[in-house]
């Protein structure tokens, strides 16, 4: 028996899978490192099921996504004043396969700790007519903390807008129409309980399994899904969920092409999981390039994001200019 040529060959021979890239998103959130836990619903543990290839997709699907853009526009002393824009849109896809905007909403606001601002600055800000989002004073003691607080405030605004738009859309959804949300369903009772609402989650900061079950979940093959389970932990409203692989991960990263899907916590979801997985699988095309998350980003969601960015205030989108000091006067 010939000896392995190198340690890499040895690793592969031993069963390790060679990869070459770790997407930033796969690192997950640093503040969540616990295993949330899951309750098996479909099977007694984590099993792997093939999705129904060729399952027909609903004729009309609405896709919901939101964006948040923000930038520090002033400092009052060392207190940052942030201008933010959050927006969300629902784009509907019909028989002609084209996406058209069905609903949208946006908010422009200024985020700052109003109480900590000097009176003149505060007066000018209040007279500006812009919506003010106040930050608690204890979160802005340092510029870095203040920025993190502002980011969280903007994110909350975006999530609230998405929820508002999603619920409005869900209420108007036709009997044969579906809603696909970029994010989670469990933030909204309306969405979490809707029979034709789905959420596709691209980031996998929260893990629900450990040990062999985690391995089975994260190495599920393309065209397959895991058993339906009930996520535990931070979910506000009960939903069912499953992992599904869109693209082979070998050669990339273990989270490459991996989606987590959320749907109503109902036995119908279990029955429909493979069918839904089948038409979600077809959403691999067209690729959502040039977005770096194309392996998990459905093209219609990417389209909603492009649409929202196209309508966002230009100054928040513009590429940063040179930070060299300006010359002259």
């Amino acid at each position: 028996m010939a000896a392995p040529r190198s340690w890499k060959d040895a690793m592969v021979a031993a069963g390790a899978v060679a990869v070459s890239h770790v997407p930033e998103a796969s690192l997950g959130r640093a503040d969540i490192d616990e295993v949330a836990g899951a309750e098996p619903v479909e099977d007694s543990g984590v099993a792997v099921h093939a999705v129904e290839q060729g399952a027909p997709a609903p004729l009309t699907i609405r896709f919901l996504d939101g964006i948040q853009l923000w930038k520090v526009v002033y400092y009052d002393g060392v207190l940052p004043i942030v201008r933010a824009h959050v927006a969300a849109a629902v784009r509907s896809r019909g028989a002609d396969r084209r996406l058209r905007t069905a609903d949208e909403a946006g908010r422009d606001c200024v985020v700052a700790c109003v109480a900590a601002l000097r009176p003149a600055v505060r007066a000018a800000l209040e007279a500006s007519g812009l919506e003010l989002v106040d930050l608690p004073q204890d979160e802005v003691s340092q510029p870095g903390r203040a920025l993190e607080a502002a980011r969280r405030a903007v994110e909350r605004a975006r999530v609230a807008l998405e929820k508002q738009l999603g619920e409005r859309c869900a209420e108007r959804l036709g009997t044969d129409e579906w809603l696909v949300v970029d994010g989670v369903l469990s933030e909204s009772s309306v969405l979490a309980g809707h029979p034709r609402a789905l959420a596709v989650i691209k980031s996998h900061a929260a893990q629900y399994f450990a040990g062999p079950e985690l391995e089975r979940a994260l190495t599920v093959a393309p065209g397959h899904r895991t058993s339906v389970f009930r996520p535990r932990g931070r979910a506000r409203h009960e939903v069912y969920s499953w992992y599904q692989r869109l693209w082979p991960w070998e050669g990339n990263d273990v989270l490459f092409g991996l989606l987590r899907v959320e749907a109503r916590a109902h036995e119908d979801t279990v029955r429909a999981a493979s069918r839904i997985g089948g038409w979600l699988d077809r959403e691999r095309a067209p690729l959502a390039t040039p977005d770096a998350r194309w392996d998990r980003l459905l093209y219609p969601i990417h389209d909603v994001e492009t649409y929202l960015k196209a309508r966002a205030p230009r100054d928040l989108l513009s590429a940063p200019g040179s930070r060299l000091p300006k010359t002259g006067t």
Partner: protein, 668 residues
Amino acid sequence: MIGKASAPPLPPPPPPPPPVGHVVATELKPATPYQFHFWTANETSIGIGAIVRVEDPGNGERGTGNGKGETGKVVYGVVTDGFAYSDLATPLHDVVGAEGDPARAAESPTARQEIRLWTAAVLRQIPEEPLQPVPLGGVHVATDADVARALRMDSYLGGAHPTAIPVGLYTSGGLEAPVYLDADFLLGPEAAHLNISGVSGLATKTSAVEFLLSAIFEHFPPHKGRIAAVCFNVKGPDLCFLDQPGTLDAEDRRRYERLGVPAHPFERVCYYAPFKADGANLNTLRTHAALVGDVEPLVWGLREVLDFAEVLLNRDDIDAKADAFIDFLADRVVDKEFADGFGNVHRVTTFADLDKLFRAVFDGLELAGRSDTWRTHHIATIRKVRNRLANISTRCKGLVADDGPSNDLPWGRFEDRAVYVVDVANVDPLGQDLVFARIVSKLREHLERRDLGVDAVMVFVDELNKYASADGPDTYVRKMLLDISERGRYLGLVLFGAEQFRSQVHRRVVGNAGTIVFGRMDSDELATPGYQVLSPATKTKLATLPIGELMVRHPHFTPIFVRFPRPAVLRGRDGVERFPPAADLPFEDAVVRQLVKLDRRIRPNQVKDLIADRLEQDVRRALATVRQTHPEDPLASLRRLLGTRVAPEPPPAREAVPPLTPISEEPY
């Protein structure tokens, strides 16, 4: 205000149509004063050649769509190029998405975002100053009024003396707007001449000219006087049935109505064709019994030919000696009593007389044993000129009569709105050159003297690349075409030239054409430098242009695509099917037919008895005299003429044809 009924309020004006596109400008694709880019929905009526209106939105981002723009600035443009692309970063991503299976590529549940991006050339900005880059405003489909303004037609459509001539319909986005040419720039004096290019076989060039002639006859401004057309039929039966109605469908009739041109054939058409070699049957495809009566024979004699002897001589022949000898013949010999110096007196009026003179000279020199010179002309020069002149009477037998009177176009009696068709399709190329040179020279001569009968003449010449080729020999015909192109507009002599390859026509001929028309073009032709100014999309459209559509360039506007109805005349090919040419008649029957045309009471047997046992040449000469004099009793006249030798008719006083003005070397 009791008892006084107030007028009902006017209904509110209809809301302006929404824009169909929006101007975009990036650093790589900026808007300039001459060009801009805009996008439209994927499903749009905009296409290459469409005319659009851009409204300046002013300071606000969104225009009001009030038709003027908030700042009042309006820009008109014509679409010259189009682009479509999606958000696909690289073709490889499509392959990956379809997993390498082309069939699956069409099955993706979402259609990618696409853009329809158009490039337009600015036609006009209002106000015209200051000339600035096109504003980033809404783009609207042009209306009838917009088309008129965009093409600057408003300057000649109205006023006390409108000079608009409809050339076709601009059609785009459901709009159908007439496009007009300015008569001052089509027929002079500001600019003149029309050149039309296109591949052969689609009948586009001929059809377009036929329609345009109809439009000119209908809309020629009264203050500009009278106009006629002379058309040279140089191939097949193209122009042989201009007086016969063609087949039009409802769409054609609607277009005629929209353009204000009557959908009927030309009312006054005169056909001229030389005889065949037999001197009795006409050399044309319009020989059907029902039509041949309208065809006048075109017969020229020595005098007519000698005035244009230069046409017969190629560059090698034209030397000072030959030229001097021809001048000697024209000035001292022809139509005069002339003593040859060997004891003979000649009166040369025909080719036959001239040949007798030559023989007498050769015999005289030989018998006298004198030198090789006669009247200072070397015998070799005399022989050369004799050969050339004899050659024309041989090669163009039927057009050039050895003897007998000539029959020509009605110089001085041209009728208003008449078409004179000269059919030289089956004539030897040398004869074609002669016909062309002489007729155009006579037109020029009469127009200079203002005694033609009309104030302007359009001369239609097909196959211009043959008569005025860019790289061919410097012939008399080409010189004359250059002269018309450069000076004709002052005289009212307008050249309508057509050719397959514009690049092969002399650049001063095409360069002087104020109006350029393109039909479907050959791709090779479009690759030549003359078409570099056209965008690739315009070239592609030109290469695939359907029958009935043209691209027109006029001094008032940049190229625009128009559609025109089929001409209301019978097409040549259809004409020969409906009126098949008659077989050549025996000499006696041909003579009968010509006499019956003069007097329907004449019975064939009377004629046949009369000409039996007569020499054909005597009959031909007598018949020509009868035809020209139009006697009350043609048969009696023929009998009288055949009774004795028919004396040749005394020639008219010679009217010198002024020499061509030396042609300037200036290109335009």
